[in-house]
């Protein structure tokens, strides 16, 4: 092959790579793009030709009490569940990282189990349990269930961050006169912030999108995904596209936050602590 042929071959290979990449991303993004575009379409039906731009569906959404109330419920449950799970996760991660105790392995495995159980089964189980103790059918039911399923992720992420902390840093704080709590508050906590913030955002996103368990236990106070599902059952309205766009926008913002916080942490090398 001549040199010209070679360079032509390399260029076409590179070009086809880019095309492939563009196709992949295009296919991923197309449904979302359609959703966003048709949330502004005047026609009731998401079909071409394009009939015109409108904010009507967003306005209709704002006047529909049910979906807005569900959004409010979601905005109450998700940060609360994420917050509680993150706080509990931090303390659990700290203890698991610092102490050796009998049964530590078993406990660690037990903490991971909820991730492995399919949500459908968890949902049924949660409903069964909560209805026996009369806690079913309210917002706090969802809150409780979400806290339970979010804790393992929070522990895993915060443990990852704590494992990168040299043991000497905490020891140095004690050595300079800090009590256990002072050292925890002034040295360990600041060190863990990227892990804590990442865990919170991930938990928030998960809770905000979670449908199956919420559907089982929510009763008359649904969160947004449950409400959207109910809405779908009764009528097909472009207002759903508007809801989808809003939810998508929120998720994107949250995920960007997660990536900014978590990526540097995941890429960092865990430091070996001194014996």
């Amino acid at each position: 092959m001549t040199r010209q042929h070679q360079s032509w071959f390399r260029h076409s290979l590179a070009a086809s790579g880019w095309v492939y990449l563009a196709l992949g991303y295009g296919l991923l993004m197309l449904p979302i793009l359609t959703l966003v575009i048709f949330s502004f379409e005047t026609s009731r039906f998401p079909t071409l030709p394009w009939t015109g731009w409108t904010w009507d569906w967003y306005r209709q959404l704002l006047s529909d009490g049910k979906l807005l109330q569900a959004l409010r419920a979601s905005l109450l449950v998700s940060p609360l569940a994420a917050g509680i799970a993150t706080i509990l996760g931090f303390f659990a991660a700290y203890a698991l990282n610092r102490f050796e105790f009998p049964g530590k392995k078993v406990l660690t495995i037990l903490l991971i189990v909820p991730i492995l159980v399919p949500p459908l089964i968890l949902g049924v189980a949660f409903l069964g349990l909560l209805s026996r103790i009369n806690l079913q059918g309210h917002l706090h039911s969802i809150l409780l269930c979400h806290v339970v399923i979010l804790i393992p992720t929070a522990i895993a992420l915060i443990t990852l961050r704590l494992m990168q902390m040299p043991k000497a840093i905490e020891q140095a704080a004690w050595n300079l006169g800090a009590t256990e709590w002072q050292a925890l508050w002034r040295v360990v906590l600041p060190w863990s912030i990227p892990g804590i913030a990442g865990a919170f955002l991930l938990a928030f996103t998960f809770s905000f999108d979670e449908f199956v368990i919420a559907w089982f236990v929510s009763g008359f106070e649904p969160t947004l995904p449950v409400s959207i599902y109910n809405f779908l059952g009764s009528n097909l309205s472009p207002a759903l596209n508007a809801v989808g766009t809003i939810v998508f926008l929120m998720s994107v913002l949250l995920l960007i936050g997660v990536e900014l916080l978590l990526l540097p942490m995941l890429l960092a090398q865990p430091t070996k602590s001194e014996p």
């Binding site: 000497a168 840093i169 050595n175 300079l176 006169g177 009590t179 060190w191 001194e274």
Partner: protein, 385 residues
């Protein structure tokens, strides 16, 4: 001069005097009494007894795993002990929690708080208790002055070089005006050229402050250049405690004689004792040694000859001890030359000479040479334990 700066200078001056007031050398600052430490079945420290005088620079030296860092952690209260007692300025601190001891430590990798500035790192020990903000600032300023950190106070830790980090770690440890400073291999994370300079600075600092420094290291040069006394440890036991000169010229055990590194050891049997001169039959030949101890013919002993007491000549010279050996190699360390020789029995001998570079080049490899030394330069150790 403005009012504020006058006030600051006065504050600095008073703080300086409190920092620099030396305590008479007679008082004992730290006492370790019969300390033993076990991890389950494994005993890592055996019967450790040591007392450190006020204002003394003590280096604890030994190979890795000898228990020297464990001992330092025990003094700091980071690890408990199985039996024994730790006393600081007469007070029994064996059961005192780590944060109430005021035995600050300088860590091997400095263990600075990465989320705080240099100023906040130095002030950390003062911000935990009852100190008021306006008392803290001048103290931090004084300490920064002492450690040449004034320009760096508002920097982040990640913006510092290794040497600067070490100075911050020392400043942070000294801010509470402790009776003692613990240092755990603080030079190992530094560049070699910086290490030598910091040795001088650290020694000067210790003399200025007049407090005891306990310095853990596996590096002989550091121990010998800074310490008033050296503690040599091996396998959880103290092998010898003494001044650098004592450790160097009178090693108490085989381990010390070998670990200190500049000694040649010849194993043999005593064949004749004449006053303080002992004749030892070694595979390399007869060696005459000086000993104040009672030896009898038939005793198994080891003759210890420092590498810098050996002469190296192409022809035999009149000397009490003389061994033939062939040159296997030489190493140049500044003005010092280290020769490696091998005796007819295959035993390796190390010779250290102050020599001009050109003289040493005159000796070809595998040259047959004569090693000679005096009886007074030969010490005797009992049988290997």
């Amino acid at each position: 001069m403005s009012h504020a700066s006058i006030a600051q200078t006065t504050a600095q001056a008073t703080a300086q005097t409190t920092l620099a007031s030396p305590i008479p050398m007679t008082t004992t600052d730290l006492e370790l009494c019969q300390i033993a430490k076990c991890y389950g079945q494994q005993q890592v420290l055996h019967d450790i007894n040591l007392s450190v005088k006020a204002g003394e620079f003590v280096a604890i030296m030994g190979p890795s795993g000898c228990g020297k860092t464990t001992l330092l952690n025990i003094i700091a209260g980071l690890e408990g002990i199985s039996t024994g007692a730790v006393r600081l300025r007469g007070q029994d601190i064996t059961r005192l929690p780590v944060n109430q001891r005021n035995t600050p430590m300088v860590w091997q990798h400095f263990a600075l708080f990465p989320h705080l500035t240099v100023r906040q790192n130095i002030a950390f020990g003062l911000t935990l208790g009852k100190h008021r903000q306006r008392e803290i600032a001048p103290k931090v300023q004084t300490m920064a002055g002492l450690m040449h950190l004034e320009e760096l106070l508002d920097r982040r830790i990640s913006q510092l070089s290794g040497g600067q980090k070490q100075r911050v770690a020392i400043a942070r440890a000294l801010i509470t005006e402790p009776p003692i400073l613990l240092l755990d291999e603080p030079m190992s994370a530094l560049d070699p050229h910086l290490r030598v300079r910091m040795q001088g600075e650290l020694k000067r600092l210790q003399q200025t402050l007049g407090i005891a420094f306990i310095y853990v290291t596996h590096n002989q040069n550091e121990a010998f250049s800074m310490a008033d006394r050296i503690v040599v440890m091996n396998q959880g036991r103290i092998e010898q405690v003494g001044t650098p000169a004592e450790i160097y010229t009178q090693p108490a055990t085989h381990f010390v004689a070998e670990f200190v590194g500049n000694n040649n050891l010849f194993d043999g049997t005593v064949i004749e004792v004449n006053a303080t001169t002992v004749t030892v039959q070694c595979p390399q030949g007869k060696i005459y040694a000086h000993s104040e101890q009672n030896h009898a013919p038939g005793d198994r002993v080891t003759a210890v000859v420092p590498a810098d007491r050996l002469r190296l000549t192409p022809q035999p010279v009149p000397a009490q001890n003389i061994i033939q050996a062939s040159l296997r190699g030489c190493e140049f360390m500044g003005s010092q030359v280290i020769y490696w020789l091998e005796t007819a029995t295959g035993y390796e001998v190390k010779v250290m000479r102050q020599e001009a570079f050109s003289d040493s080049l005159a000796l070809p490899i595998n040259a047959e040479l004569y090693l000679s030394w005096e009886t007074e330069d030969t010490m005797l150790l009992g049988e290997r334990g």
